[in-house]
Amino acid sequence: MSKKYLKALIIAASIVAVFALIHSGCQQQKDVLSGSTADQVFVPPGSYDDFYLFTSGGFSGQVGVYGLPSGRLFRVIPVFSQDPEKSYGYSEESKPMLNTSFGFLPWDDAHHPELSQTNGIPDGKWLFINANNTPRVARIDLSTFTTAEIIEIPNSGGNHGSPFTTENGEYIVASTRFSIPIPNRDVPISSYKENFKGTLTFISVAKDGKMSIAFQILVPGFDYDLAHAGKGPSHGWAFFTSYNTEQANTLLEVNASQNDKDFVAAVNWKKAEEFIAAGNYKTMKATYYRNHFDEKKHMAFSEKNTDVKVLSPADCPGLIYYLPTPKSPHGVDVDPSGEYIVAGGKLATVIPVHSFSKMLKAIENEEFDGDAQGIPVLKYESVIAGEVENCGLGPLHTEFDGKGFAYTSAFISSEIVKWELGTWQVVDRIPTYYSIGHLNIPGGDSKKPWGKYVIALNKITKDRYLPTGPELTQSAQLIDISGDKMKLLLDFPTVGEPHYAQSLPADLVVKNSRKIYLIEENEHPYVTKAEKDARVERNGNEVHVYMTTIRTHFAPDNIEGIKVGDVVYFHLTNLEQDWDIPHGFAVKGARTAELLIMPGVTETYTWRPQFAGIYPFYCTDFCSALHQEMQGYIRVSERGSNVPISYKVGN
């Protein structure tokens, strides 16, 4: 190529480049102006998301942890179900977390995550979640993303309306979805109206997080569905929806859908405290467990409780009122100001919004419409602030953006409806895919929502994803609410059924995130704090192996003298003190799950060798360049053999 041509080529290329620059400059500006959808959810590789999203794992019994706006899944926190990946419910240390009055339960159905609050605002300390099947509430520590405590709820047939917090975690509330005889006993099911009752439970939360059942309120045998505590002026009250005020015990889809109105129960819990202080309660015998994980001993402990304080509305005037609410209401949500109580009437054609101040006035003026089993029913007209018309079919749940708007999910018409507080006018609506249940706005059930997004939590996805056989994923959808019109940004699949979710700015959680457990603080009774102390001890047919891990070996890694019929406890201490370096442990043929031991932690693996031979064990979590070398052997001899215990690492 001649110099002349080259020069011409360079000039031509420069001109093209300049044009391209001008052109792309314009393009980019246009994209920014119109708000490129992809840009709004794109988190560049290596960058952090702005928000954490915690979704309930539904029938998986776990909690999913996602980032927003990317929708990336970071972790599944085991809560109510065993998780072999993390040895939760398999290691000796974690098994007690799943103890109940029915014994060890490997599974439950998790529904509603709720972030702990300070002054009515999520503080990023804990996440609570309920077990629906065998009634319990769990507290997850957000510095470690592990389950710290689980408390069983006595006198409950199923814990659905739970665990919603008061402004400062004075209480976490719980209500019975299924009424049962209380105390539970053998009666004909047909004696429902006579024998079945519900309970509303108030769980107190101590400064360090410790939960205890403060008191229960015995209520008529309806189905209590969801709840939310008051805030601001309504702080001191809690609201519970109920359906099946017909008290049907069969074919509820027909028989519990007869009444035009069911109830929102308004409970004055400050008054309840007075009745408790005055001794106006009965102590009932009831067996329930509280399990907590000790972070220093690295193990869970169970304690059995045997009685509970129960308040009867008949003995406690002013404790509880019913607000008539159309029809078979599901969610009940309190707006950021604390004045409006929004109920989602599954079968209603409007969204009824009750006024807290009107309710107080109606109580003062005794504007009652009779009573339900002794509980005063307030007049609908006296408490209603407004009805949102044209609200979609099957309105379920409402969250708030803090700018005067409410967002309600409509299950049957698969949409989110945005409406204005005060005017009760619908201002926007957006379809969801499909069958939305709950929805969530960051801080959307608190005093100070962060807004920005609403997340639709969908039950059915049908044609939205590649098919995976008969069962398809459930999903979440991220919707931008920063403008006048809602805009769909992203679909992403979820772990189990995302009944409800909570979200908050990431920095509230990141700043507390734990990296390691200090080995100096390890108080596990079987800890091995130095490799020189690693050893094997026989005590009858029990063998205790005190084993350490570090990149990249076990100590000891050769063990002899184990016999068929022995029970071998491997107490592994991970001596690493570096972030993100757990070690795993597994033995061939052991009828349990692996261990996954965090830095500085001791965990125990139980093995009952069945046959003589040589058994390899190895690290299951890729830990270093020589991870594949992190292995060892155990020699198992026949019963009665005289091979002595011996062990070593290195030559």
């Binding site: 390691i516 080995i519 100096e520 704090k529 130095a530 490799e531 020189k532 350490t548 570090i550 990149r551 990249t552 070996h553 100590a555 001596l575 690493e576 003190q577 570096d578 993100d580 370096i581 890729f622 830990c623 270093s624 360049a625 020589l626 290195g650």
Partner: protein, 175 residues
């Protein structure tokens, strides 16, 4: 697989390539860098791809940025250091035999006190950038020295412990 592992692998490949080339050069010149497998501090001046300062080349990268003024050995701190060594270091280092990492009794005859402290406190960056740490990585089966989250105070106690061991070595050799 963990992000950290990826980093290790990329680093390993990169470091191996660099070291392979350096190694080639040295052997081509007839040099013998590994007499009887000793862990001598290498002549780092010749290879400084990370652009380290003279101080860093001599004393490692980390919180210790100027030479330590070492007074008489603090025996109490040395005892404390021995305990720390037992729990946090002895998993990989024996005093007199090659284990996961090098034998440690004579560490202060191999590296400066400042390098010792910087390596304990900042193994990741040293392994990434310091020629001696990189050479040790190759020699010790690509086992990156573990970051045990030791604080400065504890690292200085460890130093006192190794000063005691060093004193004993010197006494022996003069006897």
């Amino acid at each position: 697989m963990k992000k950290i592992i990826n980093i290790v692998y990329t680093d390993i490949i990169l470091i191996s390539s660099i070291l392979a080339i350096v190694g080639l050069m040295i052997t081509a010149c007839g040099g013998d860098s590994d007499k009887s497998g000793s862990d001598e501090f290498s002549n780092v001046q010749k290879t400084n791809p990370s652009g380290l300062s003279d101080f860093e080349l001599k004393h490692g990268i980390g919180p210790i940025k100027k030479e330590l003024k070492l007074g008489p050995i603090d025996e109490a701190k040395a005892l404390e250091g021995e305990k720390i060594f037992e729990s946090k270091c002895a998993t990989c280092h024996k005093l007199d035999e090659k284990y996961t990492g090098p034998a440690q009794r004579n560490v202060l005859q191999r590296v400066s006190p400042e390098f010792f402290v910087n390596m304990v406190l900042n193994p990741d960056e040293n392994t990434e950038k310091h020629p001696h740490a990189q050479e040790m990585l190759l020699k010790y089966n690509m086992q990156k020295m573990t970051n045990q989250n030791i604080n400065v105070k504890d690292a200085l106690s460890l130093l006192e412990y190794f000063r005691v061991l060093d004193r004993e070595l010197k006494q022996k050799s003069t006897n």
